[in-house]
């Protein structure tokens, strides 16, 4: 009878295999790697050193981007101008001269790589010019994303050809470290006692800080492709388009409204795309999205508008897009939210250097030993020191020294 039961159990498990275990995660490996040139080229109507990013695809297991170096990059227009590009220190190709894309001029891109491959993009003209009418932040209680601060864009356009919009943003926020102390401390020559229950000894050195560590600025850019279209709308108007959402209280690892604690600024760039460029970006974006339960997108190679004269595969798009930008600054009280907490949990400890007795063996921790471990092992920083009592106050580094999470140089555009 027992045997029968076992057999039956086995059968059950088989049944379940069908329903439960038909999907398993597997090691990611590139079956056949193709090194393909990736071109991201958007020439705009701003008078500036235009940028073109040229890289190569990397194997799936790889983490770093592979820059295509020493390529010969030229943008040519149909009025006889030719603009050469050279790599900057980050590997991005920057035009040697300042130039801006002009209306009704046809531009082409030519790339010659050092391995002899030649690529070109077909002619592109500047898209119609538009403007951002309004960039603003509001506290909302979003149906899907929950409560938080939503930054919106409005753009009213009279030109019927401004139908496809792509957005980029760069946000910058001020960080004021909760703990500010002009002196730092170093410990060295630690003598651990062979017996755990004996006292420990080490040398102490105080020093004066030479850099600003209490006020910093941090910046980040959008990591997703943000696009909008007015094609199905009766007017060519982008209204209350959500560009950035900061959830009120997000889980770890997700930036939330705490970046609004001290002051926040966002610059939004609005590119007007033509239909081909819009479709290309949309497709690339949709292939990277998480799938829904109902259906999975048909994957495939997305063809851009670059061709290779030497029959090499190429990914990317060359567009000449009008761009307009707007920057706003605001504080947490402008959007009527309570004072946000600091970006990090600030663990703060007061430790008595004189507590060095009996090690950890009497149930009461050895503060002097703990102090050494926190400061040297966990990178805790001094936030107060009372020579009279030999009590050290320490806190997590990101709560004392903001240069670990931002830069202490105020950006040029920053307005208090």
């Amino acid at each position: 009878m027992n045997g029968l039961k076992l057999t039956y159990r086995y059968l059950l498990i088989i049944t379940l295999l069908i329903t439960i275990s038909c999907r398993e995660e597997i090691e990611l490996e590139t079956a056949t790697f193709e090194s393909v040139l990736v071109v991201e080229a958007t020439i705009t109507n701003e008078l500036k050193h235009q940028e073109i990013k040229i890289s190569r695809t990397s194997v799936l297991e790889e983490t770093d981007q592979i820059i295509e170096n020493n390529a010969d990059v030229t943008v040519v227009d149909n009025t006889g101008n030719s603009f050469n590009f050279s790599q900057n220190t980050e590997g991005v190709y920057i035009s040697n001269d300042l130039f801006e894309a002009l209306p009704n001029v046809e531009y082409t891109l030519e790339i010659n790589t050092i391995n002899g491959a030649t690529y070109s993009a077909n002619q592109q003209t500047l898209t119609p010019i538009s403007q951002i009418d309004n960039l603003y932040a509001e506290f909302v209680n979003d149906d899907v994303k929950g409560p938080g601060v939503q930054i919106f864009v409005d753009s009213e356009n009279n030109n019927p050809n401004t139908q496809y919009f792509r957005y980029e943003f760069e946000e910058t926020y001020k960080i004021v470290a909760p703990h500010d102390y002009p002196v730092g401390v170093n410990f060295y020559n630690y003598e651990p006692n062979p017996s755990l229950c004996k006292p420990v000894y080490y040398d102490i050195e105080f020093f004066d800080k030479t850099q600003e560590e209490s006020i910093c600025y941090s910046s980040s850019r959008n990591t997703e492709i943000i696009q909008a279209s007015s094609i199905n709308l009766s007017q060519n108007t982008i209204s209350r388009f959500p560009i950035r959402f900061l959830p009120e209280d997000a889980l770890d690892d997700v930036i939330d409204t705490s970046i609004l604690r001290d002051r926040y600024s966002i610059k939004v760039k609005q590119y007007i795309q033509n239909f081909q460029a819009y479709t290309y970006y949309k497709l690339v974006a949709s292939l990277g999205n998480t799938e829904s339960v109902l259906s999975q997108n048909q994957p495939g190679f997305v063809v851009g508008n670059l061709n290779s004269l030497t029959n090499n595969k190429v990914v990317g798009f060359f567009e000449v897009a009008s761009v307009t930008e707007q920057r706003i600054f605001f504080n947490f009280n402008d959007v009527n939210i309570p004072y946000p907490r600091y970006l990090y949990e600030c663990d703060y400890r007061e430790l008595d250097y004189n507590d060095n007795s009996n090690g950890d063996c009497d149930g009461d921790p050895n503060d002097r030993n703990l102090l050494y471990i926190y400061v040297t092992g966990e990178n805790y920083k001094l936030v107060n020191y009372l020579p009279a009592t030999v009590i050290y106050s320490i806190a997590k580094e990101e709560c004392v020294n903001c240069t670990t999470i931002g830069t202490n140089i105020q950006p040029d555009f920053w307005i208090e």
Binding site: C22, E25, G300, V303
Partner: protein, 908 residues
Amino acid sequence: MKKITLLAFMLLFVLFIQAQEKLTVSFKDASLKEVINTLEDKTNHSFFYMENWLDENKITKTYTNATLETILDDLLKERSINYTVFEGKVILTNNSVVYTTLPEGFFGEEEKTILKENEAVFYNEYKNQNLTTIGKQNINSKAQEFTITGLLLNEKTRAPIQGVAIIADEIGKNTTTDAKGRFSIVLPIGKNTLEARLLGYQGINKEVLVYGDGFVKIAIIEAAETLGEVFLESTANNNIKEAVVGVIKLDIEGLKTIPVVLGERDILKVATTLPGISTAGEGSAGFNVRGGRSDQNLFLLDDAVMYNPSHFLGFFSAVNPFATGSLDIYKASIPAEFGGRLSSVFDIKSKEPNYEKFSGEGAIGPITGSLSVQTPIKKGVSSITAAGRATYSNWILRSLDEETLKNSEASFYDGLVKYNHKIDSSNAIQATGYYSKDKFSITSDSTFNYSNALASLKWNHTFKNKKHKSELIAVSTQYKYGVDYEAQSNSNFNFDFKINETQLKLNLKYLHSDKHKFDYGISTKLYQVEPGNIDPYGDQSIITPLSIDKEKGLESAIFVSDLYEFNDRLLFNVGLRYSSFTALGPGTQNVYEDGQPKNEATLTSVNTYDNNESIKSYGGLEYRASLRYLISPTLSFKASYNKTFQYLHLLSNNTTISPTDTWKLSDLNTKPQSANQYSIGLYKNFEEKDIEVSIEAYYKKMQDILDYKIGAELILNETLEQELLQGEGKAYGVEFLIKKKKGPLNGWIGYSYSRSKLKLNSDIPQEQVNNGAFFPANYDKPHDFSLVANYRITKRYSVSTNFLYQTGRPITYPVGKYTFAGSEQVLYSDRNQFRIPDYYRLDIGFNIEASHKKEKLAHSFWNISVYNVLGRNNPYSVFFENNEGKIQAYKTSIFAIPVPTITYNFKF
């Protein structure tokens, strides 16, 4: 009747005495019965006989001073009647001599085997009404073989039929009828079975009792269906003789020994072991026939369309094997009466009714239990067939300790009820109802369910002059599926899809002459589709309800075909079908700029249509032509050309694990698909070894095959036409099949080399796939080999095995990643540039028949089988997801371990 039989027995032990009385009688135009009456009067002998032995031939004779024996000898010499005169009685027997001595060995003595004695045959031994006796038994005859001549007639018209195959299967002899319907064959003494077969006629098995040289008349009737039920064992030479290319006939009885997964006999699974039929993967619901998409097959169950012929993602076929009678698959020459699908017709017929007695069969396996019963309601007039099957896995799941599995669902059931009624000799009706339902969870938070509901009603009528026959068929089908998504989130939903179709069809048959047999008819079909509805599920859900506009369409056809026998060797089957489709309102259709890719930029206007207003009509002529040329009686050549249209498309994203395929009607923006197929084949039978060999080659060109843009979303998309591409397809291949149908070792070996390619070209690069060049379709599997073998060790034990090998199917694979627009993107290869690893699988099964005692209540057998003996981890698909910027790869595989099952089958 009983009296006669008893007497015949008694007489065996009695010597007979001859009467010596002389008489003078004369008869004029008298019947044999009248003659006997006269003789009774004149001789005071009582005659014992069965009236139906006496023929109506008129007798004009005069006998002078003749003994009764002389008269009887003379009267009966041309007849098959023997007589015995005994104690003032004359006992007539039909064929049998009433022996005055016992046969040798009657009392258990050693049988003398010097020369085989003609055995005594008792009337009752063969009470089969089909039995015909030939020749008169001759006491002195020691001959073992006799020449039988015969005439083959059409039962209704009484006209002789030429070209009918006459097969004496037991002794492996055969012949065909000549222009006058005559044939001649040498048969051994005793009981023989003669089979008469001709395309377009119902085959008949005629049992003959051979006593001597003689004559037999066989009448066959035209098949109601062009091709009736044909058993694997009795299709002798059919493969050679029919004018149909690419036809597969399967009979469920012949499949019972083939090893099966999870103990389920499955006629559709077996079909995929034959060349030209494959599935995209193990556990994939669709079938691909000769490089066609999985939506291009017309599945019919008793004439009603079955949209999803599978249970459980294709692991089991949706028809209970015990309710299935036969399956005919047309993969090249599709009869003109069928239409609406490009690649094939799977014509499933439920079990033939049993008008005579109550019977049933069933099986108990690890996953399901099934039962089918048949019973006459009025003997010989009406019969009912009922079959059901259900899983018990849900009960299993619930009784499990494992918490994670407790909420899983995995169940299905199906049921069929059929009623047959013979109203009179020229009218019969059949009504079938079928329902199947599946419910299972693939992931822990979503439950899928789908159901097929079918109803069909058929009225067969034979017209008075017997040359005309009609068949009126009304069928209705509903297929629907739903997804219930219930996760710990506010995005819970219910999604559902539904399609209905109702068809009325009139098939007519006109047997014009031996040379020409016409089939013609009309049909019309109404489709109603609900492409998708989504509703929030639960109070917390923030899903916005959405309902995609319903679709409606009318498909009609008129068809005619002629089976034309040019001469003994050359047979044509020429058909023509005109089909048309009209998409009907209410609804809205987006209008795009002419000649431009369909996208939001080229959308010019939106048309609104009233109820039943025509949106767009399509139509065309479909040619169905095939020929057979008989090179020798066992070797034939066939060729066919077939054109088909399809107005209904399946939106199936093969890269997903979810069975969320939806059907879409052609409309303003979606054209019907069409295909042209050319095939040739060579067929050879080696009769002495029961081996059939065939080789077929085909080339198929398809137009407006539906495919999708990169990034396409197919579900709940209000502007679906913007995601669809219609392109060209081509498929070609060679199929090779060796079949051994009898003997202890039987089975088949199939191999096909085939390719199926698609081309999606467009003026704008974003709508091209693979630069507009041909690329392999998702189901392109060049090499496909299968071996199905069955070895009968003894009458009770047999082993069977399947071995399958297929090239892995193509997939689109990530070939790298790159950073673009600030985020990491995956670079995919060209569409279907890579293949998943090759598929192979070995199954072994063992059958044990219960003892062959005659008086048992039920006949039963055990089937023990192991699926995937080698434990090969055959990947079904590999796919990738970008989870929070990190790319993760997943693979699905099904039955990566050997799966043993034991099933108990019974029949009563």
